[in-house]
């Protein structure tokens, strides 16, 4: 087997091995055995994707060309990790608490969830990363080619370079899709990917160290000799440019935070904030080891390899030249690892941004309302992400093909760093400055990105690609001060430093100035507070930082909720607690976190916890309200509304019940009063005749010499009163039966005349001396009735007897008129020629025991009550017809059906 074939086989096996590692890690994570996956070491190793092929191969090349300057690439991240780890901690905290999925998401989320910003950052990141991905593909291809060159099989691969790049790109895309888009949730981490890159981190470190050890001890002959060689080489005498050093260090540090792939492993894939602590020393250690042998390899490469050899490939070509094929293959694998891990994570991070901020919004726009209707958007998101991954890798590949894989790519690393570093001002200000606004961020990013493109990116492509030589020399539109590499006429600076300085300076200034001049939207304010105060909210998300809270404002709010006196008392009590002694009335406490928490608790008793928190938050402004809290407020409010609705319904019910009860009670009271009155009345009506009976019987019994006339008279009185008593009892029983409805009606057919004849003769029968004359019109009385004639007669008799008793005319007369009505009823009027019933008494006559003129009445005043009850039973009525004179009673009752069924007697019980 040829060496080249062996290399291909090893590469394929290595690739397979990485798939396996990712697969196993993924499966362990799914089974919940992910403890070892989440160790701080794995986290630290995953950070090593910072060291791409550009670092693996390029650092040596860099050292060979520019001396110690390569150190800046390691120095920047080291400084960030050691000195700026509190910034990282805040970033990680924000990322976790806001469930940030990418750096674009972070910026967008901070500035009021602006998608425009997210799109901007995404485009920036893609533009900056595409050449970088191309660079990785190139490094693989290049290293493969030089391997082939060295083993004399160059002819086999020279025309297949693009093919190699293609297959590598395909493999990487496949890997990323497989392990990067298993799930959607940013909090479910990509264990497979992280594990694979951790393994690759180990491979690339050991590969580089193996080459280094070989160089130092195998070729150079020891440490002392190596130092001697370094001193002798031009590298040792390289002059440092302070400005460039500072710029490069800064750039590397900024890129370490801002690169999408770094953000992915630093923040998104972070499983535990504590890992940052370990990484803060372990990762610089890793970088130190990576940089340890760079110079010896560079020196030895320059010394041993023929002049004109590409120093970027010394790591590979040195062992090859020395015949160390195994070491060379190992070294190749190291470079391969560096390249692949970068492409995988970068494409994953970029694809998340592209799919979330560009593809999905477009898809939602295009699909209209269907997305929310169809429900599961998951598949769409996954598809979008997979396509994005493929697209980004393809973009890198296409860029590689177009750029022709030339030497120009080598410079791409720093250009790319400078591009993504434009996000730095916005990102840092976003988590430390609440005044930063969306408009400011947009303006700053636009200026920074524009300047970066104009002064660094476009010129880096070479004159004539986009920017013509004349623009480079004479400035845009011939304006000299707009020369891309000498803005504002400041010349003689290193182009990179020049670009970084101007782009970041103007970026930050614009951002700052526009932020000050513009006003943040409510959502921006909210998010801004969340981001800036993320550390204060640690532990208890509900604790307060003592902001510029106004005690008076809190007092006013508390008064509104608790009531003026209670609020006053609470505030004074708190002020006393703070002072440790009694305070004067009206004293206000310092609005410290302690007090605010107590106030919140106090308020939550009235308005609910979430609302209380939100209200305090509004005034304190120190910590703002999260969406969760707002939802909780909504929930609470809904619950309260529901509760109050229920209460209202209940109170309505209660009120209705109370009204009914009151009504029933009134009725009962009334009934009770009526009952008392009734009993009292009965007592009176019974006792009166009994008094006469007793008194006269005692007289008859106890008195001697009572004359026979007197004896007879008194016996008659006793007799009459006994009769009266009996009648009264009869009436009472009758009324009771009628009122209870338990009355037997004896229904038969007959004429009205028949009934009246009987009644008139009965009414006058008992009293021969009766002067009452009854006038009738017999023709009117032909109506056929089907009723209880005894009961009807009772009514008629009562009315006639009343006329006889009460008519006060000189010659009393009673006229009876009958008339058939159109509604099938007959109406019988009893009209006397007396003075009638006084108006004030008319309402009373049908009441029990009512007598208008008692001394002349023989009855107990139950007559008309009984009449009314009877007429009701017979389906008719009896009323007094008001008139200025004459007593006028009217009886109405139904006539019999005209066809007149055979006279039938029936006895029925009405109820």
């Amino acid at each position: 087997m040829s060496t080249l074939n062996l290399l291909i086989l090893v590469c394929m096996l290595y690739g397979l091995f990485l798939f396996l590692v990712a697969f196993v890690a993924e499966r362990s994570a799914r089974r919940g055995r992910a403890r070892w996956l989440r160790s701080p070491i794995v986290y630290t190793l995953s950070l090593s994707i910072y060291c791409t092929a550009w670092t693996f191969y390029g650092a040596v090349g860099y050292a060979a060309r520019s001396g110690m300057e390569y150190v800046t690439i390691y120095l920047g991240p080291t400084i960030v990790m050691v000195g700026w780890w509190w910034v990282l901690r805040k970033l990680v905290r924000v990322g976790r608490s806001q469930r940030v999925t990418s750096i674009a998401d972070l910026i967008s989320s901070r500035f009021g969830k602006s998608n425009l910003l997210a799109v901007g950052v995404t485009i920036l990141a893609v533009v900056a990363a595409t050449p970088y991905i191309a660079l990785q593909l190139q490094s693989v291809t290049l290293s493969f080619a030089s391997f082939a060159d060295a083993v004399g099989q160059a002819d086999q691969v020279s025309d297949e370079r693009s093919t190699t790049a293609f297959w590598v790109a395909m493999g990487l895309a496949l890997f990323t899709v497989l392990f990067g888009t298993r799930n959607l949730d940013a909090n479910e981490r990509h264990h497979g990917v992280v594990m694979a890159i951790a393994v690759e981190a180990v491979v690339k470190l050991t590969a580089l160290m193996a080459v280094g050890i070989f160089v130092v001890w195998g070729l150079s002959g020891g440490v002392a000799e190596t130092f001697a060689r370094i001193d002798a080489s031009p590298i040792g005498h390289w002059q440092m440019d302070g400005g460039r050093w500072a710029a490069l260090t800064f750039l590397a540090g900024a890129a370490f935070i801002c690169l999408p792939r770094m953000f992915q492993v630093l923040v998104v894939e972070n499983a535990d904030e504590a890992h940052l602590r370990t990484a803060s020393w372990a990762f610089p250690g890793y970088l130190l080891l990576m940089s340890l042998f760079v110079v010896p390899i560079a020196v030895m490469g320059l010394e041993r390899l023929p002049a004109g050899s590409n120093p970027d490939l010394f790591v590979l070509t040195l062992p090859l030249a020395e015949g160390q094929t195994a070491l060379a293959i190992f070294s190749f694998l190291g470079g391969f690892s560096s390249a692949t891990s970068m492409v995988v994570v970068a494409s994953l991070a970029l694809a998340t941004m592209v799919s979330n901020h560009m593809v999905m919004p477009l898809w939602l726009l295009w699909s209209g309302g269907r997305a929310s209707v169809s429900g599961d958007v998951r598949h769409v998101v996954l598809l979008a992400r997979r396509l994005s991954i493929a697209g980004i890798v393809a973009l890198g590949y296409i860029y590689y093909r177009i750029s022709g894989g030339g030497e120009a790519l080598a410079a791409i690393g720093l250009v790319s760093f400078a591009g993504v570093a434009q996000v730095l001002p916005v990102m840092i200000a976003g988590i430390y400055w609440r005044g930063a606004t969306r408009i400011g961020a947009l303006a700053g990013l636009t200026v920074g990105f524009g300047l970066w493109g104009y002064t660094l990116f476009l010129p880096s492509l070479g004159a004539g690609v986009i920017l013509s030589q004349s623009i480079l020399d004479n400035g845009f539109l011939g304006l000299v001060w707009l020369r891309p590499q000498a803005l504002f006429g400041i010349e003689g600076i290193d182009p990179l430093v020049h670009a970084v300085f101007w782009s970041l300076l103007l970026n930050a200034l614009t951002f700052f100035a526009v932020s000050l001049a513009s006003f943040p939207s409510p959502l921006e304010r909210l998010q801004g507070a969340q981001f800036v105060n993320v550390l204060q909210q640690a532990g208890s998300a509900r604790s307060w930082s003592a902001g510029a809270a106004q005690a008076e404002d809190l007092m006013i709010m508390a008064q509104r909720i608790l009531g003026a006196q209670e609020a006053q008392a609470f505030f004074e009590q708190e002020a006393a607690r703070q002072a440790g002694r009694a305070v004067r009335a009206g004293a206000l406490p310092e609005p410290g976190p302690d007090f605010l928490q107590r106030l919140e608790r106090e308020l939550s008793g009235s308005v609910g916890a979430a609302t209380a928190h939100a209200m305090v938050a509004q005034i304190v402004g120190g910590a703002s309200v999260s969406v969760h809290e707002l939802l909780a407020v909504a929930d609470e409010t809904a619950q309260m509304i529901e509760y109050s609705d229920r209460l209202q319904a209940q109170s309505r019910e209660l009120a209705a019940t109370a009204a009914k009860l009151r009504e029933a009670n009134d009725k009962l009271t009334q009934l009770s009063v009526q009952k008392d009155a009734f009993l009292s009345q009965i007592s009176h009506e019974l006792r009166t005749p009994m008094t006469s009976i007793r008194a006269f019987s005692e007289i008859l019994r106890d008195t001697r010499d009572v004359s026979p006339e007197e004896q007879k008279k008194y016996s008659s009185i006793i007799h009459d009163e006994s009769v009266r008593l009996t009648r009264l009892l009869d009436d009472l029983l009758d009324l009771s039966v009628l009122e209870n409805g338990q009355v037997n009606l004896n229904i038969r057919r007959g004429t009205l005349r028949e009934a009246l004849d009987k009644a008139v003769s009965a009414a006058v029968a008992g009293d021969e001396s009766a002067k009452l004359q009854v006038n009738r019109v017999p023709e009117e009385e032909a109506q056929t009735l089907e009723t209880d004639f005894d009961r009807l007669g009772q009514v008629f008799i009562n009315l006639i007897a009343n006329a006889r008793k009460y008519c006060d005319a000189e010659v009393p007369e009673l006229t009876i008129h009958a008339a058939a009505m159109s509604d099938g009823r007959v109406q019988v009027d009893f009209i006397d020629n007396g003075s009638g019933i006084p108006e004030e008494s008319r309402d009373l006559i049908f009441e029990k025991f009512s007598r208008v003129a008692p001394q002349r009445a023989g009855g107990a005043g139950l007559g008309l009550s009984i009449c009314r009850q009877i007429m009701e039973r017979l389906g008719g009525s009896v009323d007094y017809v008001p008139s200025p004179r004459n007593a006028h009673f009217r009886v109405t009752l139904p006539m019999a059906e005209s066809e007149g069924p055979a006279a039938h007697r029936k006895s029925l019980v009405t109820n």
């Binding site: 009292s680 007592s683 009176h684 009506e685 006792r687 009166t688 009994m690 008094t691 006469s692 009976i693 007793r694 008194a695 006269f696 005692e698 007289i699 106890d702 008195t703 009185i717 009163e721 003129a853 008692p854 001394q855």
Partner: protein, 122 residues
């Protein structure tokens, strides 16, 4: 000449009975049957004792009694009240109105006689 008794009662039979046994006992009995002009009847007859019914047409016995007690001349006139309503509440009302004695119908003639004697003697 016996002492004068005025009976204000609307039931003629009861009036007649009382009149009968009081006259036999030597009292000079006057009768009156309604409440309207009861006070004038009292003034006219100037009785030594008044027998007063409660339920009278025109004006109740309680009212008549209250008005009597408000008049200086009749402040101490012995009044025997008769009522057909025998409830405790009626007794209380009679006492409050200023009745000297209260009796429920139906009464015993002997009791009335005894009460009349007592009230006039005291």
């Amino acid at each position: 000449m016996g002492k004068r008794v005025l009976v204000i009662e609307d039931e003629p039979n009861i009036t007649e009975a009382i009149n009968f046994f009081l006259s036999r006992d030597g009292w000079e009995v006057f009768t009156h049957s309604n409440g309207h002009d009861a006070l004038q009847a009292v003034a006219r007859r100037a009785p030594d004792l008044l027998i007063l019914d409660v339920m009278l047409p025109g004006k109740s016995g309680y009212e008549i009694l209250r008005e009597l007690r408000d008049t200086a001349d009749w402040k101490h006139l012995p009044v025997l009240m008769l009522t057909a309503r025998g409830q405790a509440r009626d007794r209380e009302m009679a006492r409050a109105a200023g009745a000297s004695r209260f009796m429920t119908k139906p009464f015993s003639n002997a009791e009335i006689l005894e009460a009349v004697r007592e009230l006039v003697d005291s």
